[in-house]
Structure formats: C-alpha cells, structure tokens
Amino acid sequence: MSNKDIEYTTVIGVEGPLMIVDGIKDVAYNEVVKIRLADGEERTGQVLEAFEHKAIIQVFEGTRGLDTKLTSARFIGETMKLGVSKDMVGRIFDGTGNPLDDAPPIIPEERRDINGEPINPCAREYPREFIQTGISTIDGLNTLVRGQKLPIFSGAGLPHNELAAQIARQAKVLGKQEAFAVVFCAMGITNEEANLFIKDFENTGALERTVMFLNLADDPTIERIILPRMALTCAEYLAFDLNMQVLVILTDMTNYAEALREIAAAREEVPGRRGYPGYMYTDLASLYERAGRIKDKKGSITQIPMLTMPDDDITHPIPDLTGYITEGQIVLERGLNKKNIYPPIAVLPCLSRLMDRGIGEGRTRGDHAGVSNQLYAAYAEGNDLRDLVAIVGEDALSERDRKFLEFADAFEQRFVTQDNHEDRSIIQTLTIAWELLSILPPAELKKIDENYIRMYHPKLNSET
C-alpha cells in the first residue's frame, strides 16, 4: 500500500501551529499532508522536518481542534503544487489555491511546485524599460522599470493601499500595447482594504486582467507562508510561459513575517533580531528574487511588495531585510500625511536602484538624471535649513538659503502632492521640476549639464 492511502492516526503532539506524527515511513521533506479532524473537517499541512519514522508538520489553517486521538494525517506524496492556467486571470483564490468566486474550478495546464526555482543569473536580462506610473515622486525621482522589485514602506493608517491601487491603475510602458496582468496577493489585510482594491480594479476594468489570492485578517495565519509562493508561481507562468507583463502586488509583508515568526517560535528556534528567525533574509529573498526579466522572453515580473513598518521604524527587521533584497524602496511618512500631502512619500530615504539604466535620452529624457539629482540635493538642503530656522529664525538666513527654503516648500506642495487620480506624464513631471528649480539661483544647478539648463530652464532657455 502506498503512503498516499494510509491514514496515520499516530499524532503524538500538537503545539502552536505544529503537529507531530509518529510511526510513519517514507515521508519527504516539505511534502504536503492532508489532515482530517474528528468531525471530518480537512486541513492541509506541510512537513517541516522529516525523520525516518516521525515528521513535524506545519498546519496552514491552524491547529485549533486538533487532537492526538482522532486526528489523522495522510501524506500525499508530493510537495506543494499549484495548478496553473491562463484561465486564472480574472479569478479569485483563497489561501490554499481554491477558487473563492462562484465560477467553476480551473482546469490546470500544468502543476508547479510553489517554491519555484532560482533564475540562473546568466539567464536574467537587466531590467531597463521605464514604467510610467503617473506619480511624480516615483517617475521623476525613483523610476520604476519592468522586472524591478520596488516595495512601499508604510505605516499603519497611511494611504499605501490607495497608492498601490493608483500605481496598478496608471502603470504603463510608453508606446507599447502588450498583454499585461496584475497578480494581487493579500496576506492578512482587512476585508475593507481588500475591497478597496477589488472596487478599484472593477471600476477600471482591470479586474478581468487580475488574479487575486486572498487571505484576509480573519483567515488562518500560517496560510500566509504559502500564499505569496502560489501568487508568484502563477505570475511566473503568466510572464514566462504566456509572455505577459505581470505586476505583482504583495500586501502586507509584515503579516507574512509575523507568520514566519510564529512558526519559528513554535519550533523553539534560536531567534534572530527581535524574535524573527535568523533565516528571514533568505526566506524573503526566495520571494522577492522571483521578480525579473529573462533573456529572449517577452514577459516580465515587476513586484510591489507593501509593508507596514512597526512603530514607523525603518530599522525594524521587516523593512530592513526587505530593503536589503529589493531594488530600492518608496517610503511613506506620517509627517507629510499630517500635512495633508498625498502621496505622503518621504523623498529622501526613497531609492530606485534600477533607475539609472532606465532613464535618459531615448527612454525618458536627457535631462532626467541631472534634474533628479538636483531635486534631491536641493530638497535635502532646504530640509536642513528648516531645522536651522527652527533655532535661529528665518532672519539669520542668507538670501540664497531663503531660496532653498522656499524651494523645499514648493517642492512638497507642487511636485510631491498630486491627486489620487492624477496621471502625470513624465514630461509633465519634468516640467514641474524645472519650474521649481527656477526658484534657485541658476549657478546652484551644478548637477545638471549646462546644455540642459539652456534647453529646459524656464527663465534661461533659448526661446525666451
């Protein structure tokens, strides 16, 4: 009799999200386990540690109601797989990959291991295609490119969902009409938050191009470990088999990390920083590194993971380890939000590491890099002066310094601030930038090549 048909009733322990089964044989590491409770309810688990006759199993839907007497376990002989198909687009799935909508189950074209395999670095194509999000602080200063992983670091109560929805709504590659899809993976967010996305996708007609994987706040926490892996497996299929441009939104990674910590604690592992497991970097990398482009393939996976920084602390392990893996970060700030600035993007700590190769002549515009550097430098300087003004008063400032102060305010009001439905072209973004830079004495614009100053400076350009 194969293992698949044996119902082991030898559960010897249940602890936190874990269950231990004894007296077994032939069980594989990471194999999927079907668990049956006394009342007939079925749950799913996965082998975390395999011994010759014993296995430690993490139970995705939680261990409430499990016992050591009547609960039984069946090992299905394979690791966690997801059936993939083009028909997934437009559908909604739950935390174990079953349809949540009323439509019939999909007929998979293929079943794939949800852990995926690492992309061979030799097979990668360096991402460099500019995605216009219509948001000035992103397009102008932290440009997103196809195949990038660019997270949003937020705080509780900040409008990161609105921002993500706006990006999903407005993102486009200029001059191209290609098949694209959104894979939306919700981990532990509230029903209301999920609805914000669903409504928005509905309104713009994006829903039919979206695959949703939902695990809401009241759904089992341990499912959150496998959910992004399923979402990314689906994304890989759409991107690299069906040639689609895929945007993956993962929210909220903080909930994912909490689930990871819960399992580590139950296994009594030596904790790393602040109780999170020492392997969290590697674990997160196994998700984030699934973004990218592959040589000779048309499709791409662009990832926008979102996370809420506990206590707005960017050095907390979740944002910290994320920042160490992703290709930059967009940081939201409570102070700006209080000033009613939307999107409340704190420009200085933001970064897009793939920007340099994605902008410039033929991609955005020749002056882009210089303008961006100049905006950064000038805003940083203006920001410093605010501190000084707080101590010595504005009168102690030189004429020059006052200009920088004025610039910093105008920058927040006119460049950072925009409407939730305002879709600015990159040219509009750069035009606003030049208007703001013209507040400063032209000799201060040292980061911009002289010929661009002549070409674009509203007060100096040759036409006027």
Binding site: D26, V27, A28, Y29, N30, A50, F51, E52, T79, D113, N115, G116, E117, P118, I119, N120, P121, C122, A123, R124, E125, Y126, G147, F240, E269, V270, R273, Y279, Y281, T282, A285, S286, E289, G292, I294, K295, T315, H316, P317, D320, L321, G323, Y324, I325, L348, P349, L351, R353, D356, A377, A380, E381, L388, I391, V392, A396, L397, S398, R400, A443
Partner: protein, 591 residues
C-alpha cells in the same frame, strides 16, 4: 578505499543527518539521495554524519542513500577560469543554463573547466630538471593579456621525466611526468585544491604599494594596499555594491575575483553585461578578460553561499601563485555569516552573540588572513598578492553588531558608509570622519615618489579642512552661517568644494567614474590652492559671496568631468584663470 554508503535519517531544511557513515571525515563531500545532491559533512557523531546540502532539499526522504566521495570540497584550477561565472561550489552557470534552462534545477553535474577546449601550451621547464611545488612547467595564453602559468601543484615535486612539446592540448592531457623517489606521477593542466585550506606561500611581505582604484575618496583619503584588506559596512542602499563594482572595474589589479554572496541576481547580470563592454584602463582590454565571477545569489541554496567565499579566495590564491596581483570583492560577507548562523542553528549549536555561532570571529579572521603580499612557493622568486574587500550589511545600519565588529577587528581599512550622506545623494557615501586606513604611511611613499612629493601634505591639509568644517557646522547649527567671521566662512566654502567635488564621484558618469591618480593629485592641489586664495581674498575684504559666484568656481567644481586626456592643459588654464579672477576681485576692493 572502502565505499562509505549511509542513509538519510533526518531532514531539516539544508541540513540532513545520515547514519551508517562510519569512516567519514569532516568536510568530505557526499552525494545525497537519488538525485545525487551535493553536500558536505559538517559534524560527525559516532556513525551519524550531519551534512549541509548545497542544493534544495525539497522532496528528499529519510531512507534515501548518502554516498561519500571521501574528498574535501575542492575547486578545479586551470585555464578557462577567467571570464567564467560559477555558483558557490564552482559549477559553471552558463553550462547549467544550457542543460536545465533559465531556472537552476537540482542535481546538475558539470565540470568547472571545459574538457574539450584546446589551449596552446608552451613548455618552459626542461626534461631532467628537478622541480618543486610552485615551479612553472609552461604557459598558456588564457586571455589576450593574461598568461596562465602552469605550475607544479604545491604537494608535488620530482624530476621531469617527460614534458610535451609546444602545441594545443586539452586541460586533462598529461603534459608532464614527474619522478619522485622512483614513483612517477603525471600532471595535467588542472590542479584540484580543497577550498577551506589556504594555499601555501613561502613568506608574507608587508604591503607597500597602493591598489589604485580610481576612486578619489579611497585612493587619496583611505587607501588600500596591494595585498591588503578592507571592509565596507553600510545599511541598505548606501552604496556597497556600487563601490565594489567600481573597485572591480577600475582597480589596477591584474586579476579580479568578484564573489556575489547572497545578494541580488540582477547585480550579477549587471556585471555580466557590463564587463565585456568596459575597457581596463591599464591594458585597453575588455574587463571581463581579467575577471572571474562567483554568483550565489540570495535565493540560491544557503549552504553553497558559505562555500562561495572559499571558492573565490582559493581561485584568487591560485592566480597569486602565478605572480599576479589579485583583488577579490565579496558582497556581502554578512550573508555568508548568516549562512553560518542558519546552519549552526539547524545543528542546534550553542549560539553566541545575536545567534551567530561562537566561531564566527575565527572564520572571518581565517578568511581575511588569506589576503596578503607574498613570495610564492617554487624555486624561482616570484611575488604576488591577494587584496580582499568585503561588504558588510549590518541590520538597521548599526555597526555595533557582531559581523561588523569582528570584521573591523581584522581588516586594515574601514570605509564607513553613511545613510545620511546616501539620502542626500552624496556618493560614494563614505563618511570621511569615521573611516580610516592603516596603510596610509605605507602607501604615501609611493605617492610621494611617483605622483607628487607633497602628496601627503595635500592629503592631510584637505583632511584637516574637513575636520575643521565639521566643528564649525556645530556652531552654524546654533547661530546660522552669517554670524561666522569671514575667514571661517571661507573655510566652510573650501571644505564644501572638496566635499562636493572631490569626495563625491559619480559611478555613472562616463568620465568621472574613474579618476587616474595624477588627475586626483592635480584636482586636490587646485582645490587647496583655491582654499588659500579665497582665504587671502577675504582677509583683503573681498566678500565671500562674490567668490563663490566666480566663473572659475564652477570650473573647479567640474574638474572631475574633464576628459582624462585633456585635463593637464585644461587644469593649467583653470589655475591661471583662477588667480586672475581673484586678483581682479581684490583689486576692485582695494579701489
């Protein structure tokens, strides 16, 4: 040798246990399971071996076989290393791609070096000669500028019974037969060497020559010596990788080994796509023709990440033994340390600080100890060097954590990256007040002799200016800049000139990305001259605001971007104009 064949009894992530492994040795390589995954023994307890597996263990089952190769983890050394890219255990990634496609599958077997390719071998040693380990048997032109010296492996010696004629051979052809104590031994162009064991040297010398990197803040302020060690710690996004890429591109080493250890896939792709296009300033050859890449990215198996730094340093030592100056960059040593921590955790070892194993410090020290300027083994005198530069990624950017602290105890150069500088796009964001180099006195002789006698003086004057600036900044914070006396405002402007236009250097600017040493010297000299001149001018009542809008001020600020062929003429003119412009301002005042 009797076969050692055990079976798996436990699997926990990348760590497995196998019993019936009697006769195994620590660090022997084993083949695990029906898919023949590669692993290494890291603990022995009676007949149970604990093994770290270099590949994904998903789906592996207790009961599956484990077979020992009874050999420690080793690399293959020979022609064909250069321009190649390997994973942490030296499997060639291009070959893997050919075999398993765009994603890395498990259980792939592939020779590190191409067995089919023929290399043109020129014998040097003569039949009948007595040779020892390190002696050169012959040469192969590996790339247009790199001569690969085929050496007697360190553990061999004897009389040459035969040596092949000049001609084209594959690397596994027997090219030499040695006779030692009446036993013969055939040698090919391949050596194998266990990665965890340093290759022997005759003796170590003190580093004395700078490794010129073309990065001003490094070469002028915090230089690293050939054969030296340096660490570059910094929080995420502060510029570690860009700096290591810059060093890999522009250092005047002859061979570069770049180890991507637990970092991003795209960063390796970047190197792969850029290096063939960039020219080595010393030879004019594509940079890839002096580079070996090791890529074990963050999503590749964690145990192989541990191996990757050893693989890299062993290859570095091998080229050093040929007499080359080799530079190795490791990005990031923190990921390597984390791999140690993860494996140690699975072994349930007693954790040290922050969960890292107690042997963290000694592993780091052993690694950096493999750097150095050495006299190589062999009967001829030959000098070579390995310089090592490692990135450190401290959690939260806080340098007080164990990896940063233990590293700083060993290395001689500390490039402290500063998130605040990075936020305001001051790149490279190396903090000039916190960083240091213990090679300064060693290399200043070279600079004085070769570039300019007053180099050290200029360097120290610039540093003093920057230090003074930071003290003055404290006062400015309280009273505003206008309250300062004119002389101090002039000093602030001089420091600002150095900060913004000397320390800062854009890696992405076509010209500024690499600054030759003589140009560095001239830039610094001119900036300090500017400093003197404006100090003098303000003492003669010229207003500081008039000085910083001078035409030549802008010229000074843009010196880094002047093409490297034109700068001598250009700078001369600039110096002349500067003097004139300031003279004019003073004259106007006196009137």
């Amino acid at each position: 040798m009797p076969k050692i064949k055990g079976k798996i009894v436990r699997i926990s992530g990348p760590v497995i246990e196998a019993d019936n492994m009697h006769g195994s040795k620590m660090y022997d390589v084993v083949r695990v399971g029906t898919e023949n995954l590669i692993g290494e023994i890291i603990r022995l307890n009676k007949d149970v071996a604990t093994i770290q597996v270099y590949e994904d263990t998903n789906g592996l089952k207790p009961g599956e076989p484990v077979l020992s190769t009874q050999e420690p983890l080793s690399v293959e050394l020979g022609p064909g290393l250069i321009a190649n890219i390997y994973d942490g255990i030296q499997r060639p990634l291009p070959t893997i791609r050919k075999e398993t496609g765009d994603f890395i599958a498990r259980g792939v077997e592939s020779d590190a070096l191409d067995r089919k390719k023929k290399w043109h071998f020129k014998p040097i040693a003569k039949k009948g000669a007595t040779v020892i380990g390190g002696d050169i048997l012959g040469e192969v032109q590996e790339t247009s500028h790199i001569i690969h010296r085929i050496m007697v492996p360190p553990q061999h010696q004897g009389t040459i019974e035969s040596i092949v004629k000049e001609g084209d051979y594959t690397i596994d052809t027997e090219i030499v037969v040695l006779n030692h104590n009446d036993k013969t031994h055939a040698l090919t162009m391949i050596q194998r060497w266990p990665v965890r064991k340093p290759r022997p040297v005759k003796n170590k010398n003190d580093p004395s020559q700078p490794l010129i990197t073309g990065q001003r803040v490094v070469d002028t302020f915090f230089p690293v010596a050939k054969g030296g060690t340096a660490a570059i710690p910094g929080g995420f996004g502060t510029g570690k990788t860009v700096m290591l890429h810059q060093l890999a591109k522009w250092s005047d080493a002859q061979i570069v080994i770049y180890v991507g250890c637990g970092e991003r896939g795209n960063e390796m792709t970047d190197v792969l796509q850029e290096f063939p296009k960039l020219e080595d300033p010393a030879t004019g050859e594509p940079l890839i023709n002096r580079t070996v890449l090791i890529a074990n990215t963050s999503n590749m198996p964690v145990a192989a990440r541990d191996a990757s730094v050893y693989t890299g340093i062993t290859i570095a030592e091998y080229y050093r033994d040929m007499g080359y100056d080799v530079a190795l960059m490791a990005d990031s040593t923190s990921r390597w340390a984390e791999a140690m921590r993860e494996i140690s955790g699975r072994l349930e070892e007693m954790p040290g600080e922050e969960g890292y194993p107690a042997y963290l410090a000694s592993r780091l020290a052993e690694f950096y100890e493999r750097a150095g300027r050495v006299n190589t083994i062999g009967s001829q005198k030959r000098e070579g060097s390995v310089s090592v530069m490692g990135a450190v990624s401290p959690p939260g950017g806080d340098f007080s954590e164990p990896v940063a602290q233990n590293t700083l105890r060993i290395v001689k150069v500390f490039w402290a990256l500063d998130a605040d500088l990075a936020d305001r796009r001051h790149f490279p964001s190396i903090n000039w007040l916190k960083s240091y180099s213990l090679y300064l006195s060693e290399v200043s002789k070279w600079w004085g002799d070769t570039i300019g006698k007053d180099w050290l003086k200029l360097r120290n004057n610039a540093m003093a200016l920057l230090q003074k600036e930071s003290e003055l900044q404290e006062i400015v914070k309280l009273v505003g800049p206008d309250a300062l006396p004119a002389r101090e405002r002039a000093l602030l402007e001089s420091a600002k000139m150095i900060r913004e236009n000397y320390l800062q250097q854009s890696a992405f600017h076509e010209i500024d990305t690499y600054c030759p040493e003589k140009k560095q010297y001239e830039m610094l000299r001119l900036m300090l001259k500017f400093s003197q001149l404006i100090e003098d001018a303000v003492s003669k009542q010229v207003h500081i605001d008039d000085l910083i809008i001078m035409k030549t001020y802008e010229g000074l600020a843009r010196m880094g971007k002047v093409p490297n062929e034109d700068y001598p003429k250009h700078f001369k003119q600039l110096e002349h104009d500067l003097e004139k412009e300031i003279q004019a301002l003073i004259k106007e005042r006196v009137k």
